[in-house]
């Protein structure tokens, strides 16, 4: 009998680069499967796409009506506010794309027991949960965001060069890490408390506050959105960098750091949750 028949610990493992490449491959495979699955229910897919396109048109209409009445907001011009609003849709879209299963986590994975199966596969637990379903309407939000941002940017006379595009490619994903971190923390609670606490919907609603310049809010709200529930970092701070704001533009550069800290912290909580699950089997 060969040595590694009874001793598997000798079998070499992947390095960090190999792991990342492999994980990316799995992500792609899951995504392809998801699209195929959606296409299997062809009617649903069309209805969905139609509904999302429709809601995009409505959102645009609401925006233009709102801002046809309001010319400026606490020193921010209509176009600037519109730009911030549009920017906020990018990280939100990215987050919505991968976060569906976080909302279903308690119900499907803990109560219905799908998490057992997650633990039986040689892929990271969070990666599996997130990759198993997507919300395609996130793509529409991203598209809407880009369209409106371009429009507002043109009106403001901002020029978008390589530097700006690079900043966008870094700031938008970093900002979505803030969302991810906040909601992953909330999701992790279900490792300890089976009954859903219903914390996610109210927090999700607070996201709306983050789409406008935070200077319009009172000081406590500003502090809350900057440090406690750091949604000021998902749109306002990073967007002001593009607007050339002296005051907040520099804070924008902290966005990747805030994103990493919030997300990193939530990962630790998640891992603790997984350990708790493994010891209680709930």
């Amino acid at each position: 009998m060969k040595e590694n028949e009874t001793n598997w610990s000798q079998i070499p493992q992947k390095g960090p680069v190999g792991r990342t490449v492999w994980q990316a491959g799995i992500f792609a495979a899951y995504f392809t499967q998801f699209i195929k699955m959606r296409l299997a229910y062809r009617m649903d897919f069309f209805v969905d796409t139609l509904a999302v396109s429709f809601s995009m048109v409505i959102q645009l209409a609401v925006l233009s009506t709102l801002f046809s009445k309001v010319k400026a907001l606490d020193g921010w011009s209509f176009e600037q506010v519109l730009f911030i609003y549009a920017f906020s849709l990018l990280p939100l879209g990215l987050f919505n794309l991968v976060s569906v299963n976080l909302y279903r986590f308690s119900d499907q994975y803990i109560i219905q027991g799908k998490f057992d199966r997650v633990l039986l596969r040689p892929v990271g637990t969070l990666a599996q949960v997130i990759f198993e379903s997507f919300n395609v309407s996130g793509l529409n939000e991203i598209l809407l965001g880009i369209v409106v941002m371009t429009y507002a940017g043109m009106k403001l006379g901002l020029d978008f060069g390589v530097q700006e595009l690079l900043a966008l490619a870094i700031l938008a994903p970093s900002a979505s890490l803030v969302y991810m971190g906040v909601f992953l923390t909330i999701t992790s609670v279900s490792f300890w408390h089976e009954d859903r606490m219903g914390l996610a919907p109210p927090v999700y609603n607070i996201i709306r506050f983050s789409r406008y310049p935070i200077t319009i809010y009172s000081l406590p709200v500003r502090i809350f959105l900057t440090f406690v529930l750091p949604f000021a970092w998902v749109a306002f701070f990073p967007a002001t960098w593009f607007l050339g704001s002296e005051e907040f533009g520099r804070l924008a550069l902290l966005t990747p750091l805030v994103g990493l800290v919030v997300f990193g912290g939530s990962l630790l909580i998640w891992q603790r949750g997984v350990r708790n699950y493994a010891s209680t089997g709930s």
Binding site: M1, E5, T6, N7, W8, S9, Q10, I11, Q13, W22, G25, I26, A29, Y30, Q33, K36, M37, A40, Y41, G113, D116, R117, L119, L120, R121, P122, V123, G124, R275, A278, S279, T280, G281
Partner: protein, 337 residues
């Protein structure tokens, strides 16, 4: 040869929260929850060499699933150790799960809405199965399980038996060296059960896969496992060859006899005089006869009965797994006292 699976003093306690009654009780629970320890598995030890097929049996709530969950790395034990292939399941999860396959009879691991083949492709990617191995395995599964027929059907449209075949194939796609099965034949009809058993025998004997299965079905054990571990209330009560188990429990069978004319238990006993048969009257014309098949040929009992009496119906029942477990438990309780 060194054992592939080593389990030592494995113990698992669950902490249960006992809820108090009423609103005030609920409030008190928030501040000072009452906990109760439930010992699901208690110092279980065994070794399993590579290539063996072992039946892990016990009644509901005996601790079977908890043990399997610890062996597969889903649960962390309260104390004790497990190594499989030199790895600790719950500590080296990512490394370990590449070498094992797991099937839970009650749940599918396939993607519900996808065609079966899509699930296989996804698993191929996850376990990094190379093309040659994939082809080889698919050919094997088609020969033994005829999965080829269902490859392009969505999982949700498969019957339970078809789904189980596909689940078995999915669990073995990456050629794991150990296969864990939790109730693999539950809910299957006779034919489907037989298919699964033939396949498992082939996988174990032909491919050398070590198999641990939990079951309620004595037929699974009798046809598949040379070795049986019986667990009850979290403890191992028997670990040995199936033949030894049979000898120890005997083959107690219960025959139900329905007569046309009434007869007392005493009269029936005199008919089977000389044979160790215990008679019991159930109601009116129906009687139970209990005897050990090893000692008493069933045909002899039947012959004597039909010669002497007018019998309208006969039925023989083998003991279920629960009865075997109870018998073993009763015996080890007696030994302990």
């Amino acid at each position: 040869m060194e054992a592939l699976i080593k389990v030592r003093d494995l113990t698992k306690d669950y902490r249960l929260t006992r809820k108090r009654e009423g609103v005030t009780g609920g409030l008190v629970d928030l501040v000072r929850p009452r906990h109760e320890l439930l010992r699901a598995v208690e110092s279980v030890s065994f070794d399993i060499p590579a290539g063996q097929m072992v039946g892990y049996i016990g009644a509901n709530g005996a601790g079977k699933s908890t043990t399997i969950k610890m062996l597969t790395g889903i649960l962390t034990p309260t104390s004790g150790t497990v190594t499989v292939g030199g790895l600790v399941p719950w500590k080296q999860r990512l490394q370990y799960t590449r070498h094992i396959g797991v099937v839970f009879g009650q749940r599918t691991q396939l993607w519900w809405d996808l065609a079966v083949v899509e699930s296989f492709r996804l698993l191929k990617k996850i376990y990094e199965v190379d093309d040659a191995t994939y082809e080889r395995q698919m050919k094997l599964f088609d020969e033994l399980l005829e999965v080829g027929k269902y490859l392009h059907q969505p999982v949700r449209k498969l019957s339970l038996g078809q789904r189980m075949r596909c689940d078995l194939a999915a669990a073995l796609l990456h050629r794991p060296r150990v296969l864990f099965l939790d109730e693999p034949t539950i809910g299957l009809d006779v034919l489907a059960k037989e298919n699964v058993r033939i396949f498992l025998r082939e996988i174990c004997e032909g491919e050398g896969v070590t198999v641990i299965l939990t079951t309620h079905d004595l037929g699974d054990i009798e046809q598949l496992c040379k070795r049986v571990i019986i667990i009850d209330k979290g403890r191992v009560h028997f670990d040995g060859k199936l033949d030894d188990l049979r000898r120890r429990v005997g083959r107690q069978v219960r025959m139900t006899v329905e007569l046309r004319d009434s007869a007392t238990s005493g009269e029936l006993a005199s008919i089977t005089a000389g044979l160790p048969v215990v008679w019991e009257e159930i109601e009116g014309l129906r009687h139970h006869a209990e005897f050990n098949r090893v000692e008493v040929p069933g045909a002899e009992v039947i012959k004597r009965l039909v010669n002497e009496l007018r019998v309208s119906d006969l039925h023989m029942a083998e003991p279920g797994i629960d009865e075997v477990v109870r018998e073993i438990y009763r015996q080890s309780g007696r030994e302990a006292s």
